[in-house]
Each structure stands twice: as structure tokens, then as C-alpha cells.
């Protein structure tokens, strides 16, 4: 499948944004959400910017972005429509979460305040976190529901989206809490991030194993119905140059480098952040912990983007069976 830049940016950016919201709610529930204005502005601000920028970029690849509102109408049958509805509904509790934090929990100019936050903040936070997870689930189901792409049509696709969003969000918050010097919140987020990075690595390992071990769903024989005549091979394509189908569904470059790109995704997306954040966790605060958290965030972002690019580029569509593939 062709990896459209807008969709890669959308799924990674809004995934990280929703993931941050999940962890901000967890911090609020634990009474660890810093009440200071600068941190809140940066943390909530960044989460909202990532979510909104992601959603907006997903409309850029549309042929008619001005008609995007119509996509909210078919939630009864379409996961894409459900995603749009869930994303919009999620803004209500997430907005109230941020607003409550901002209005109700001002504790004056306390330099470092880990105040017990209001019950409303925690409640809206938890509802917002649930809606964030639901939105990520609907995103994953857009891909997992497509039987034409066996690489996506499985539970590991859903697990990947549900884990990698909160994982990425935890890595971002581990950096922000460390940078603002909230040691308890920082070590909590570093621990949470390391746990999710390990789970994320396991999920992706199982995803890739599934790709290699699962039997092909369709073959050139079933696509043409000529399988009973023996081996079926394409001798003449309908057209000499590329067409829409080959550009959109016949993307090939990644498979050549799949192993190398996977190594990059595993190393930068998971292994380096795990080591860096574990190191930061052991230091319990300090400038070095912040630097390690920054390293974790930068490498994780590159790794997750590579992973998402591979998720598209590695996935084969059954229509390629009409263009020379033997089995998908």
C-alpha cells in the first residue's frame, strides 16, 4: 500500500496526542498532575496541537476536503465515519478536562505544586482518556476491517495502534515532566513509558511474526478462478504505464529494505528509548535524566514514523494478484 505522508503524520501525531491525554488523566487520578500553569499550557497545548494537526492533515489527502463533514454520517457501517464521530466527541471531555485543570485547580504561584486536583478534573480526564482510546481503536479498525489486505486484517493491527499511541504519549510526557523538574511525575512517566515500550516491542514482534507465518488468503488462482488449470502467471498487463491501482495498492520499494527498516524501527522506536528512559529513571531527576528523556523522545519519534511507514508499505493488497503477484 502506498504510504501517504498525510496519513502517516495523522496516525503518529494524533496517536501521540491522544496517548498524552491518557497519561495526563492517569497523572491527574494519581494526584501527580502538576498544577503549574507553564507545564499545563505546554502539556495540554502540545496534546491538542498534535491531535488537531493530525486530524487536519488526514483531510489534506482527500479529493474534496470541504466535504469532509459528510464523513460523519455513515457511522452505522463505516469505521472511517466512526473514527470521525469518536474524534469529535472526544474533544468534549478532553476540553472539559483541560478547562477544569485550568480554572478549578489554580493554586496560586506555588513553585512546585503537586496539588490534589478536583474530582471533576479527574472525572473528565478519565472519560477523555476512554474516548481517546476509543478513537485510536476506531482508527485501527479502519485498517483491521479490510479483508483485502491480510497484513492489516488481524488483531495485531488493533493491538499496535492501541499500544503505540499511549506509548508515544508516555515518552513525550516523560520528557516534559523531566524538563519541568517534576521528579515524582517524571519517574512515574519514565516507568510507564518503559513498560509500554516493552509491550509495544512485543506487539510489533508478534505482528511481524504473523506477517511471515500466516498462510496466504488469496492467490492468482482464486483471483482469476483459473487455479484448476495449474500455475497462473500474468503474461500481459492491461496497460504499459502505471495506473491508479498500481500507484496506490502496488507500492513496492519498502519490501526490498523491509529487514533494514524493521531493524531501524526496533532500535530507534523501542530499544534506545527503553535504555535511555531506564537510565533516566535510575538517576531520579537531574539534567542528565532530561537529556536522556529527550534522546528517548527523538529516537522514538523516528522509530514510530518508520514503523508506520512500514505498516503501509509492507502491506500487500490482493489486487496485485492481477498484476503479477502469486499469493497475498
Amino acid at each position: 500500500m502506498h504510504p501517504a505522508r498525510s496519513v502517516i503524520f495523522f496516525t503518529t501525531a494524533s496517536g501521540a496526542g491522544y496517548g498524552m491525554m491518557v497519561w495526563l488523566a492517569v497523572l491527574a487520578a494519581l494526584g501527580l498532575l502538576p498544577a503549574e500553569l507553564p507545564f499545563g499550557m505546554v502539556a495540554f497545548g502540545l496534546a491538542f496541537v498534535l491531535i488537531v494537526a493530525g486530524l487536519l492533515s488526514s483531510t489534506f489527502h482527500l479529493g474534496h476536503p470541504e466535504r469532509a463533514w459528510r464523513a460523519l454520517s455513515q457511522w452505522r457501517s463505516s469505521w472511517l465515519s466512526r473514527e470521525g464521530v469518536a474524534a469529535i466527541i472526544a474533544f468534549v471531555p478532553l476540553g472539559l478536562f483541560a478547562l477544569c485543570w485550568f480554572l478549578l485547580d489554580r493554586q496560586g504561584d506555588v513553585a512546585v505544586a503537586f496539588g490534589i486536583l478536583g474530582a471533576e478534573t479527574v472525572m473528565f480526564g478519565i472519560v477523555g482518556a476512554a474516548m481517546s482510546l476509543l478513537t485510536m481503536f476506531t482508527t485501527s479498525m479502519i485498517y483491521a476491517s479490510l479483508r483485502t489486505i491480510p497484513a492489516w486484517h488481524n488483531g495485531w493491527t488493533v493491538a499496535g495502534y492501541l499500544v503505540l499511541g499511549p506509548m508515544n504519549g508516555a515518552v513525550v510526557l516523560a520528557l516534559l515532566t523531566a524538563a519541568f523538574g517534576y521528579v515524582v511525575a517524571a519517574v512515574t512517566m519514565q516507568l510507564a513509558a518503559v513498560v509500554l515500550l516493552v509491550i509495544g516491542l512485543v506487539v510489533k514482534a508478534f505482528y511481524w511474526r504473523h506477517l511471515h507465518t500466516s498462510a496466504p488468503v488469496s492467490t492468482a488462482g482464486t483471483a482469476t478462478g483459473l487455479g484448476h488449470l495449474g500455475k497462473v502467471e500474468l503474461t500481459a498487463s492491461p496497460h504499459d504505464s502505471d495506473n491508479y491501482l498500481l500507484r496506490e495498492m502496488g507500492f513496492r520499494i519498502a519490501r526490498k529494505h523491509a529487514t533494514k527498516l524493521r531493524r531501524i524501527a526496533i532500535l530507534l522506536g523501542f530499544v534506545v528509548p527503553i535504555l535511555a528512559l531506564a537510565g533516566a529513571f535510575l538517576m531520579f531527576g537531574g539534567a542528565m535524566a532530561t537529556i536522556l528523556s529527550l534522546l528517548a523522545w527523538i529516537t522514538c519519534q523516528i522509530g514510530v514514523t518508520t514503523e508506520r511507514w512500514l505498516f503501509f508499505a509492507e502491506a500487500k493488497h490482493v489486487v496485485t494478484l492481477y498484476y503479477g503477484e502469486q499469493a497475498v
Binding site: L226, K231, H317
Partner: protein
């Protein structure tokens, strides 16, 4: 509404006889001609007279070669178009309601006035029946010549899809596959008509008739009856890739 109808009054569709098709592409050409002026007009072409002509077509004619265990080969020309599936996945994934299946005759259509061009329907279709129009920004697909088959201004014998009326070999038939007494249904029953990729669960309306068994006479035509050598299927060209993709390819190679 992109939920599929429970039943349709008719199941209009095509029957393609792979034993007859000679791979002349006339169906694709006449399809293009009719539809470039009909409901889906314009059927955009990009760079039509240039080095890499490309565009939106509803019919694509492939040629396959089969080789059995004895090495005996057979050439089969294979027209590919929308199968107007009963469980059309392209319809249910549509977020806007632009993609729909008609309750009266089962034809799957796109309402181009509300299509947002998200392309998800083309991902959901196993058969590559949907082609995106870059200029119009909407998805296009075979309409079963809905503007021809009901057109009372045409003589009755012309009220069939363009691909059917033009086929010089008579390899394509049109009719109601929901009616077991129709000519097309009888043809399917007599010749063992089958579905493409039944494992995809789409329940296509269109059926394909298999090539009749061939008798191989070894050496009679000055060859051994074996399939010709296949063209190599290369998978690592970076032609047409974007700048970043080619740059990454260069670094990783």
C-alpha cells in the same frame, strides 16, 4: 446510506466467457468512449499523448498463462471490471454515503456530488474495480452503463452495457442473475460459472465462465505445446517513486 440493502429486486450483472474472449480490449475502449460522455464524465486521462499515458478506466484486460503439472500451457484473456457484489465492501466502508448499492437492480454506484475522495472504497475492493479521478477528486467506477441500459431513446437491442454491445466475439452477456430463468443464469448453470476470490466474502453478481478443456497435440504446431517463458517479474525498480523514497532507497541499498 452505505448500509447494504437486504435484497435487491434484480441482480443485474455480466457474464464473461473466458473461453471466447480474444483479449482485443474493444470492451475497454467502448466503455471508455460511452462513459467519457455519460454519468461519470469526464473519464479523465492524464498525459494522454505523452510518454506515460494514464487515466481512469472501468475495464482492464489482462492476459494470463496457465501451466499444468505436465507443462501444458494455455493462454486466457481476462477482462476485469466491477462485479457489483451483493456484499460489496466498497459500499460499507464509505464514510459519506456516496457509495451505494441500488435496491431496484443491485447496481453499485458512486454519488460524485458527495464523494470526498478518501479512496478507502478502492482499498476495500479486492478486484481493483474503482479508479480515482485525480482531476475531479472523486472515485469512479463501472456504472453497468446505467445511463444506457434504461435509455428509452436508444433502440431496445442497444440497451445493454457498452462492453457487451461492442464485444466482437460475444464473450460478454448481460442480464438479471437473480432470476434463475434468465438467459445469463442458464448460461452460468450450463457452463459452471464461478465467482472471483470467493474467499473474500463479497458474493459477486458477475460470473466468469471457465475456458473449455483443451486437447493438446504435442508438436503439431511445430512446438511442444508448452507454455512460453514468462517475462521476469521485477520487484525492485524505483521508477515513479518520490524524491524521499528514492533517497531512502539509495541510502539503504
Amino acid at each position: 446510506m452505505t448500509s447494504l440493502p437486504e435484497t435487491t429486486a434484480k441482480k443485474l450483472g455480466l457474464v464473461v466467457d473466458l473461453d471466447i474472449c480474444v483479449g482485443c480490449h474493444a470492451c475497454a475502449v467502448n466503455c471508455k468512449e460511452w462513459n467519457a460522455a455519460g454519468k461519470s464524465a469526464p473519464l479523465t486521462d492524464y498525459d494522454p499523448y505523452g510518454k506515460k499515458p494514464d487515466g481512469v478506466w472501468f475495464n482492464r484486460i489482462h492476459t494470463f498463462e496457465t501451466t499444468d503439472d505436465a507443462g501444458q500451457g494455455q493462454t486466457v484473456h481476462f477482462p476485469r471490471s466491477c462485479l457489483h457484489c451483493e456484499d460489496a465492501p466498497c459500499v460499507t466502508v464509505c464514510p459519506t454515503g456516496a457509495s451505494y448499492k441500488r435496491t431496484e437492480d443491485g447496481i453499485v454506484l458512486v454519488n460524485e456530488d458527495i464523494c470526498i475522495g478518501c479512496k478507502l472504497c478502492s482499498w476495500a475492493c479486492p478486484y481493483g474495480a474503482r479508479e480515482y479521478d485525480e482531476h475531479a477528486g472523486v472515485m469512479k467506477k463501472c456504472t453497468l452503463c446505467v445511463d444506457k441500459i434504461y435509455n428509452i431513446n436508444l433502440p431496445e437491442e442497444s440497451r445493454v452495457p457498452a462492453c457487451v454491445s461492442t464485444c466482437p466475439a460475444g464473450a460478454r452477456s448481460f442480464g438479471d442473475l437473480g432470476d434463475p430463468e434468465s438467459e445469463v443464469s442458464k448460461l452460468v448453470a450450463a457452463r459452471g460459472g464461478y465467482d472471483l476470490m470467493p474467499e473474500q466474502g463479497t458474493r459477486p453478481v458477475n460470473k466468469y465462465l471457465p475456458p473449455r478443456p483443451k486437447e493438446h497435440h504435442k508438436g503439431q504446431r511445430g512446438d511442444d505445446g508448452k507454455a512460453p517463458r514468462m517475462l521476469p517479474h521485477s520487484d525492485d525498480s524505483t521508477d515513479g517513486a518520490g524524491l524521499i523514497a528514492r533517497w531512502v532507497d539509495k541510502i539503504l541499498s
